[in-house]
């Protein structure tokens, strides 16, 4: 089995395809996450409502709400990315057949696309329900992409660690929040700038820095987590 780049890429693609095929069959993560995001959205908008937050604070408070909703949606759907493999003993077959780095990239791609789906649904709804005008749509989109990337990368790595421990759901929250919160603060800053709330101009560059560091460290660390 030569380790050419193309076979590595097809391995990662195979993992990605398998993840989505299993997901669409069981619809486990998708349902949980979308239901979760939607109910939180409704709750928040009912509680706060367009008039609930006075206009001055809107541009600073609402971005925080958006990202909290996205964070909790991620925490609902992403931790099982590796957990179900260990529980159902399919992890042994994967350890025998897959290259760790390709496996991680396939799983990361799945988390990214799943999270993109969450954002694609939640963000527009949030803006509509909150009637929040966006001054710089391009920057807003960039923040969603970069914030989503960081969230997915960190969650996938923590999911790999938690996959092999007891009491996974609580452990995932405990382990992932301190990793995700700095990213969240950056994303909120950048979102404020995008919505026109001013400030946080260089948050985008810090987001890129955090995402890159998180992705590189995850790739290097995953073999140590995955191999016995």
């Amino acid at each position: 089995m030569s380790r050419t780049a193309s076979s590595w890429l097809s391995e990662a693609a195979a993992v990605f395809a398998k993840e989505w095929r299993c997901e669409l069959r069981t619809r486990y993560a998708l349902n949980t996450v979308l239901l979760f995001a939607f109910t939180t959205l409704v709750m928040v908008s009912v509680a706060l409502g367009p008039m609930g937050v006075d206009s001055a604070a809107r541009a600073t408070v609402l971005p925080m709400l958006l990202w909290l909703i996205l964070l909790f949606a991620a925490a609902a759907g992403l931790p099982r990315v590796f957990g179900h493999e260990e529980e159902k003993h399919t992890a042994t077959a994967l350890r025998l057949a897959a290259t760790p780095s390709a496996l991680f990239c396939g799983k990361l791609a799945f988390s990214l696309t799943l999270f993109a789906a969450i954002e694609a649904l939640t963000a527009p709804l949030f803006l509509a329900m909150m009637q929040l005008p966006v001054a710089a749509p391009g920057r807003f989109l960039a923040t969603l992409v970069l914030g989503g990337w960081g969230l997915a990368a960190a969650s996938t790595l923590v999911a790999a660690i938690v996959g092999q421990a007891r009491g996974q759901s609580t452990l995932f929250a405990v382990l992932s929040f301190p990793v995700l919160l700095p990213l969240l603060l950056l994303a909120i800053e950048a979102t404020r700038a995008a919505v026109g709330g001013g400030g946080g101009a260089d948050s985008l560059s810090r987001l890129v820095l955090y995402d890159a560091a998180m992705t590189v460290v995850s790739l290097m660390l995953f073999p140590a987590i995955w191999n016995p």
Partner: protein, 205 residues
């Protein structure tokens, strides 16, 4: 068959917490032969096979596996061996064909290889693994283990859930593997009645 292909392990120790499951086990398997590992439940058969497969790091001891004179490190060995065990499972929500196709892609094998083995072990293509009987699941494990034509087979309880037909299939598959110069370590091979058993390893509690 040149002896450049050989599995040798010596002084393999493995404990779980303070429970010492393997206390310095040794053995040697040459091409075309089988090492039969027997012993009561909990004597460490599965643990030994997992260590040999590289799925479990031994606390002490040496595992040396050479293929055509090239010694393989643990990570390479793990992906070259054919491993079968009762707690190995494939994806319930995927069909037999999709499962085998997935592992063919992981191992950079043509999809036809999956189909070929599926027919050899007699499994329907489009049934979901979740809906397979335990005997059929065991046949699928054999297909998974032989998918990439491994030189070394590590079989833990290979006949579990098998009826007479299953035992017949296992004997043929293992016979072909050994005739082709393959090596095998088999735990609890009682009903296999293998002529090729060259060596026995009795594990005590």
């Amino acid at each position: 068959m040149p002896a450049t292909t050989l599995l040798e392990f010596s002084g393999v120790v493995r404990a779980f917490g303070r429970l010492r499951v393997l206390g310095g086990v040794s053995g040697r398997v040459a091409p075309g032969t089988v090492l039969a590992v027997t012993g009561p439940n909990g004597s460490g058969k599965s643990t030994l096979l997992k260590c040999l497969a590289g799925l479990l790091a031994p606390d002490a001891g040496r595992i040396d596996y050479r293929e055509e004179g090239v010694t393989l490190d643990t990570a390479t060995r793990r992906r070259r061996v054919g491993f079968l065990s009762p707690d190995l499972a494939l994806y319930e929500e995927l069909t037999v064909e999709e499962n085998l196709h997935f592992f063919c892609r992981l191992r950079a094998l043509p999809a036809s290889r999956g189909g070929e083995l599926r027919e050899r072990v007699g499994l329907p293509a489009t049934r979901r693994c979740g809906a397979l009987s335990s005997g059929m699941r065991q046949r699928l494990r054999w297909a998974f283990a032989l998918l990439h034509r491994p030189r070394l087979l590590l079989l833990d309880e290979p006949l579990e859930h098998f009826d007479a037909g299953g035992v017949e299939l296992a004997r043929d598959l293992l016979g072909e593997h050994l005739a082709g110069g393959g090596l095998a370590v088999v735990a609890n091979p009682s009903r296999l009645e293998l002529p090729h058993v060259a060596d026995r390893l009795e594990l005590a509690l």
